[in-house]
């Protein structure tokens, strides 16, 4: 268990990169992400002595981070809702996620998700957590995690399909 600032500095240096990446995805705002991660790490420092089971550290850390992101999003937005600033972070033209139009549609679809859906998508597809692990992190039943992920993907794909239909319609008119 970490007992001093030296050890905590090492932990923070190790975990900060991944935490920032997750927070940036959830909040879509660099400054907000840094604030959320800072808050989360301070909480980790404060509460680490009370962590009962060190083997559950990773899940505990993700839980604190997600809640910090919720709070930061709410703090910067209206009551109870994340207001998003469109700010592609680390965006690469040559990435493997497909053509620019597809990426824009994914961005648009992702922005429409509520914070809980976004947390599930990021934890599952970016952080690589299994759905039982995601359910544990978010303190929700596994069935709820599955249905939320399903709905999130359905909504994202619906956005894509709608964009494609509109594009096809425009091309047809042209």
């Amino acid at each position: 268990m970490l007992g001093d600032h030296g050890a905590f500095s090492e932990l923070a240096a190790t975990a900060a990169g991944r935490m920032l990446a997750i927070a940036r995805l959830m909040l879509r705002d660099t400054e907000a992400a840094e604030d959320a991660v800072q808050e989360a790490l301070v909480t980790v420092w404060r509460d680490l002595p009370s962590l009962r089971d060190p083997e559950r550290f990773d899940g505990w850390l993700y839980r604190i981070l997600v809640r910090a992101c919720y709070r930061e999003g709410r703090r910067r937005g209206r009551l109870g809702r994340m207001e998003l600033q469109i700010e592609p972070i680390g965006f690469s033209i040559n990435d493997e996620s497909g053509p620019i139009a597809l990426r824009d549609q994914l961005e648009f679809g992702f922005r429409r998700l509520d914070p809980e859906q976004r947390a599930i998508v990021v934890l599952h597809f970016y952080a690589g957590l299994t759905l039982p692990e995601v359910a544990d992190v978010l303190v929700i039943p596994l069935g709820t995690a599955k249905s939320r992920l399903h709905r999130a993907l359905r909504d994202m794909r619906a956005t894509l399909d709608a964009e494609r239909r509109e594009l096809a319609l425009r091309e047809g008119r042209a």
């Binding site: 923070a12 940036r24 680490l48 919720y70 009551l79 680390g90 493997e96 597809f125």
Partner: protein, 444 residues
């Protein structure tokens, strides 16, 4: 690769391309600097392990025939005992309608004939709340996924549905029911982040007079009208602070305020100065409105006790007394007074990690303590008394089954009536917030 798998791979690749794990220069150092002035929690000390029971050598030395005879005798005794004491299934009281959220659609359940009927057609309706006169139901509605929530009112048969809060975005606490004034003329509800920044609103039931009450730096949740309608009790803490912050937020506690926003004052010593208010008031999902006693002069609520227990106390609104109900030391939370004021239902042995505990009922003086459902766990949600006090409604662990227990004295061991309810689609109830899914119709 299936279409689903291909799309999931596309999403994963897109996410990976959208971020990086770079850490800005000086970021970690800044965080560590903040921790230098942040007090840590005390280390958790594991309780002494229980010694395993010693295996009695008497049993091992008996002949096989004796062992078989003893086992058969025990099985026979168990069967006979079970038959003799088999509890009867609880017959629902004939006190009118139960309205519940059945997957985002509000539905009635007539307790007299078991008939069920849908009374809303939307997919995002939840947290129904019957008016005290039994004629109206308030509920939260979203018009679509991700869209703002608004408060609606309808007749008990589902007719005359209308939005009473207009276009105001009242999202954030829509899994927690709005509460009616005793004369059924007004509603109070909390809006915002349940855990850090929640605001208390009142409105007339006809949709006029919507306003926030209380303007100081207090986060307000879980309102509860006094029986005479002159006061609203609520739980409060400093805006931005989580209720389980250590050191404790000195503002955490029970308050009362007049419906016009005047006369706010604190009730009792709840939480203030406590060495640890760990999970005592609302983080996460241990929150419940302070429960008024029928005389309107006192409130029932939990306060932190020694060794992570919680005491149930009755505090007078004029702060002249605060008395704990004598119950065995336990984590007793979410207390609710019965309609006649003679008993209290609560969640005992509350476990913060699983948000579960045991549904218990006792006399208001602490006598006749009974654990319902044989001590099987239920969700950490406030119990709901039926208007005639004969039943108590609780929820299964995942809040997907409504459990209705017979609370009549002597019958508390009967199995509950179980109503399964799927999650509503796209209702944002925050993962671990309270989730009020049902309401009883008061007797006419």
């Amino acid at each position: 690769m299936t279409r689903d798998a291909a799309f999931e791979a596309t999403v994963a690749a897109w996410l990976a391309a959208q971020t990086s794990e770079d850490v800005p220069a000086g970021f970690v150092e800044r965080v560590v600097a903040v921790t230098a002035v942040t007090r840590r929690r005390r280390a958790w000390l594991p309780s002494r392990r229980l010694a395993l029971p010693r295996i009695d050598t008497w049993w091992l030395t008996r002949p096989a025939s004796v062992k078989v005879a003893i086992v058969l005798a025990l099985i026979a005794a168990s069967i006979l005992g079970a038959a003799a004491f088999l509890p009867r299934r609880h017959a629902l009281p004939g006190s009118g309608l139960l309205v519940y959220d059945n997957g985002g659609v509000l539905q009635t359940f007539d307790q007299r004939d078991g008939a069920a009927a849908r009374i809303t057609s939307g997919s995002f309706d939840t947290a129904p709340s019957f008016s005290p006169d039994g004629t109206k139901i308030a509920f939260w509605r979203r018009s679509g996924p991700g869209l703002p929530a608004s408060l609606w009112v309808m007749n008990s048969d589902g007719s005359n549905q209308h939005n009473i809060t207009g276009q105001a975005d009242l999202s954030g606490n829509e899994s927690v029911r709005a509460v009616w004034s005793p004369d059924s003329a007004m509603l109070a509800f909390a809006v915002g982040d349940y855990y850090s920044s929640s605001h208390l609103y009142v409105t007339r039931a006809d949709g006029t007079g919507l306003r926030e009450i209380g303007a100081d730096n207090l986060s307000r949740t879980d309102p509860s009208w006094s029986p005479d309608g002159s006061l609203i009790a609520f739980r409060g803490h400093t805006v931005g602070e989580l209720p389980d912050e250590i050191p404790p937020d000195p503002a955490i506690g029970i308050y009362v305020i007049a419906p016009d926003g005047s006369g706010q004052r604190r009730v009792g010593s709840s939480g203030a100065g406590a060495p640890s208010n760990w999970g005592a008031f609302g983080w996460p999902s241990v929150g419940a409105p302070p429960s008024w006693l029928p005389d309107g002069r006192s409130l029932l609520y939990p306060i932190p006790g020694p060794k992570r227990t919680h005491l149930l106390v009755i505090g007078s609104v004029d702060n002249s007394s605060e008395t704990s109900i004598p119950l065995p030391p336990n984590s007793n939370v979410l207390p609710v007074v019965s309609p006649d004021g003679s008993r209290v239902a609560f969640i005992a042995s509350y476990d913060r990690d699983t948000h579960a505990g045991t549904l218990a009922v006792a006399g208001i003086d602490g006598t006749h303590l009974v654990m319902l459902r044989g001590g099987q766990p239920v969700a950490g949600q406030p119990p709901l008394w039926s208007p005639d006090g004969s039943s108590i409604l609780a929820y299964d662990l995942n809040v997907r089954s409504i459990l209705i227990f017979d609370a009549s004295p002597g019958h508390e061991t009967a199995p509950p009536v179980v109503i399964s309810v799927p999650d509503p689609p796209d209702i944002n109830f925050g993962g671990d917030a309270l989730y009020d899914r049902a309401t009883w119709q008061p007797r006419p």
